[in-house]
């Protein structure tokens, strides 16, 4: 099962674009990449999921290079409420998602 590596923490400011990169060097052919957001004392919440190239939804974009050994979550124009822990997951067909340590994102005014 693939493992992921993310920065432990990041700081940014309101209105900026934030990019969080995740490494998953051992990703398998059938694995997909999913990002979750978690606020303190709450369960994680799905942000975005992708397999290759670029995926965009109303809250984020996910960039995956051709070799799929990394991925970048892009949060446009962040606000204070985006302060949270962000998890990058790599899942195979057994659905045993491997959760990394997450990236603690702090948004400053």
């Amino acid at each position: 099962l693939a493992k992921t590596t993310q920065p432990i923490s990041m700081d940014s400011y309101e209105g900026q674009e934030v990019n969080i990169t995740c490494s998953h060097n051992n990703i398998a052919t059938n694995d997909y990449i999913t990002w979750y957001q978690q606020f303190p004392s709450q369960g994680p919440r799905f942000i975005i999921q992708g397999y290759k190239t670029k995926v965009t939804n109303e809250v984020a974009s996910l960039f995956i290079p051709a070799d799929r050994k990394s991925s970048t979550l892009s949060l446009p124009r962040v606000s204070l409420s985006d302060t949270a822990v962000y998890y990058c997951l790599v899942g195979d067909r057994n659905y045993q998602l491997i959760w990394g340590a997450g990236t603690k994102l702090i948004i400053k005014p």
Binding site: Y32, Q42, Q49, Y51, Q96
Partner: protein, 116 residues
């Protein structure tokens, strides 16, 4: 629409005791997964159940067991509690119909277990 619900919200036990945690998935979801989240760490996969059958098991001792009922609700049981079992236990449900798009997991608020 009701989301994933878990009970109880908080629980205090002593070492050696047994505990049962409960989870009700979103209506229509047939898959339930359980995770343990120790403070400051990411969730660790414990079990996944689909249509009342165990589909996956994480690296947890046999003290941990679970089951899924015909209404797709689930229980997680932990026997012979250790101090290290203190954590937030999360339940997640998904449609899990086989396509990647159906794999999105919806998490409950968790049960905070403290073992003294």
């Amino acid at each position: 629409d009701a989301g994933v619900t878990q009970s109880p919200t908080h629980l205090i036990k002593t070492r050696g005791q047994q505990v049962t945690l409960r989870c009700s998935p979103i209506s229509g979801h047939k898959s339930v997964s359980w995770y343990q989240q120790v403070l400051g760490q990411g969730p660790q996969f414990i079990f996944q159940y689909y249509e009342k059958e165990e589909r996956g098991r994480g690296n947890f001792p046999d003290r941990f067991s679970a089951r899924q009922f015909p209404n797709y609700s689930s229980e997680l049981n932990v026997n012979a509690l250790l101090l290290g079992d203190s954590a937030l236990y999360l339940c997640a449900s998904s449609l899990d119909l086989g396509s990647v798009e159906d794999n999105e997991q919806f998490f409950g608020p968790g049960t905070r277990l403290t073992v003294l």
